[in-house]
């Protein structure tokens, strides 16, 4: 049963601090959706919860009809729930190829061969530097590596957290333009972004989160030419 990602009344937090206060969100199979909001709105917390790094205190998360809230991250990876984390989070001490190998963890080496080939075709610079420590790569190259790990992991549900963080705007634009090319059309995508302009270009629908609560849900079309309205939704100023 392909129902995509469905989040109902999600509450989650760190220790006794609730950060998300009852979120409802839905991403249909193959749909590209953005989760927008200011810094500290709780966007990353939502992604970390979907990926299993955090356990919901209440509510449910289902993917294709299966409850995944509180699952082990490793099991979710096996199901195809893949996250490209905020800040790229490459393993700085491991070389490029080992970084990519980790993305194939627990899967057959044949799949890795296939994946490496595909990745190196798309980002030849990574092949060139495959024996270099990932920590020595430039920010852009690290983002390539981070995306490449997701490619190798063969996502069904792809979660991308704040690709624009710490990268030059031109570079970010590049990556967004490549996204469609990097992942197949039927990958379900939930994208977290501060930079609304970029996200709306790529996603058909979006949600805006403020202080852990949903304040806006809309089609991208409606706001493409009205960034100021979005701005006020972010910050809660009218």
């Amino acid at each position: 049963m392909m129902t995509g990602l469905e989040i109902t009344n999600l509450k989650v937090g760190y220790s006794r601090n609730e950060v998300i206060h009852g979120l409802d969100l839905k991403v249909n199979p193959g749909e590209k959706v953005a989760l927008l909001g200011a810094n500290g709105a709780g966007k990353s917390t939502v992604l970390r919860t979907i990926s299993g790094l955090l356990t919901p205190t209440e509510g449910s998360i289902t993917f294709n009809g299966e409850e995944i809230g509180g699952s082990n991250p490793a099991n979710l990876v096996e199901m195809g729930v893949i996250q490209v984390p905020e800040g790229r989070r490459v393993f700085p001490g491991l070389n490029v190829e080992d970084n990519l190998k980790v993305a194939n963890y627990g899967k057959s080496p044949d799949l890795l061969e296939e994946g490496l080939e595909a990745v190196y075709k798309k980002f030849p610079i990574l092949q060139e530097r495959r024996k270099q420590a990932a920590g020595l790569l430039s920010g852009g190259q690290q983002q390539m590596l981070s995306l490449s790990r997701a490619i190798i992991a063969k996502p069904k549900l792809l979660l991308i957290d704040e690709m624009s963080l710490g990268l030059a705007p031109l570079l970010v634009k590049d990556f967004y333009e490549q996204l469609a090319d990097l992942f197949s059309e039927d990958v379900t995508l939930l994208l977290v972004e501060q930079n609304a302009g970029l996200a709306l270009k790529y996603c058909s629908r979006f949600y805006v989160l403020r202080n852990g609560e949903l304040v806006l849900e809309s089609n991208s079309e409606d706001y493409k030419d009205n960034p100021t309205a979005l701005q006020s939704a972010y910050l809660g100023v009218d």
């Binding site: 970390r48 990926s51 299993g52 790094l53 082990n72 991250p73 490793a74 990876v77 096996e78 893949i82 996250q83 984390p85 800040g87 989070r89 490459v90 393993f91 700085p92 001490g93 491991l94 080992d98 190998k101 980790v102 993305a103 963890y105 627990g106 920590g135 790990r149 992991a153």
Partner: protein, 295 residues
């Protein structure tokens, strides 16, 4: 001149023990961010087990060691599941460290009840620990050769596991960035348990090969544990090869300072040197300052 070679060799023979225990400590700390205070006592129990199988159950020497290692692995598996695992979820550093102290206390008492408090001799085939060769002016003990060989083989195996296997890759990824590793599908529980087992096996090997050198005694590996700890600090506590190098360096420092330092100072000097090293390089001798260790 040969005297210096002899001193250097004596330093190495001690240094191997510090290096191996240092490695065992760093392994667990690096991957799981846990200081295992039970490492010394666990290693000592491996030595006792090998002795027990051989001397009290008439098992051939090598088989007894294999049995001891299997028991070490199984025992560590159980310890990790029962004590460490439930606390990892809480995510706090201190409770786990205190738990390892509790495990240490427990194991020390079990060892005391089982084998008693007095020192025992660990017999090796042909009593080769009592055979010494004279090569020119250089004197070489046969068992020390075994110790050196075992150290080399152990380090090679650990090196292979870390660098050539998927488990090793997972351990490294986990050490670099736990969350990112989890998001790549590296299972925390698997990595944790195998890291503990591998670390305990390294410690167990050390406990066994040093039993003829130090004699089996309830706490005979605890001093080695302390030295291994110093070695790990010297190596920066996050570098496996740093821990090994730190151990060898500490062994040499001890060997050479005793001869030339004043009487009251000799035994303390290695610690003083470590102290000075840490003042100058707080992150240890063998690790770079970490820029992106934690994001």
């Amino acid at each position: 001149m040969v005297d210096y070679i002899q001193i250097a060799w004596q330093g190495l023979v001690s240094g191997f023990a510090y290096a191996l225990i240092g490695l065992a400590l760093v392994m667990v700390y690096k991957t799981a961010r846990i200081l295992n205070f039970a490492a010394g006592t666990m290693a000592g129990i491996s030595g006792f087990l090998a002795h027990w199988w051989a001397a009290e159950n008439d098992m051939p020497f090598a088989i007894a060691i294999i049995f001891a290692m299997i028991m070490t692995a199984v025992g560590t598996y159980v310890i990790e599941r029962l004590t460490v695992r439930p606390l990892i979820k809480l995510g706090d550093f201190l409770p786990i460290v205190i738990m390892t102290l509790g495990v240490e206390e427990l194991l020390a008492n079990v060892s005391l009840l089982w084998w008693g408090g007095s020192a025992q001799r660990y017999r090796v085939p042909g009593d080769i620990d009592r055979i010494n060769w004279l090569i020119g002016d250089f004197r070489l003990n046969a068992w020390h050769v075994v110790v050196a060989g075992t150290t080399f083989v152990t380090l090679s195996i650990v090196g292979y596991v870390i660098n050539q296997t998927e488990l090793g890759l997972g351990m490294k990824a986990f050490a670099e960035d736990q969350d990112a590793a989890k998001l790549m599908g590296v299972k925390e529980s698997t990595v944790s348990i195998w890291t503990w087992v591998l670390s305990a096996l390294v410690g167990g090997v050390t406990g066994i090969v040093y039993a003829p050198v130090l004699f089996l005694q309830q706490d005979y590996m605890n001093i080695i544990f302390i030295k291994g700890f110093v070695a790990a600090i010297l190596g920066g506590f996050l570098s496996l090869s740093g821990g090994v190098a730190g151990g060898l360096l500490l062994g040499e420092l001890e060997a050479f300072t005793i001869k030339w330092a004043p009487r009251e100072f000799a035994a303390a000097l290695p610690v003083v040197i470590v102290f000075i090293v840490l003042l100058i390089r707080p992150h240890g001798l063998f690790t770079r300052e970490k820029g992106h260790e934690r994001v």
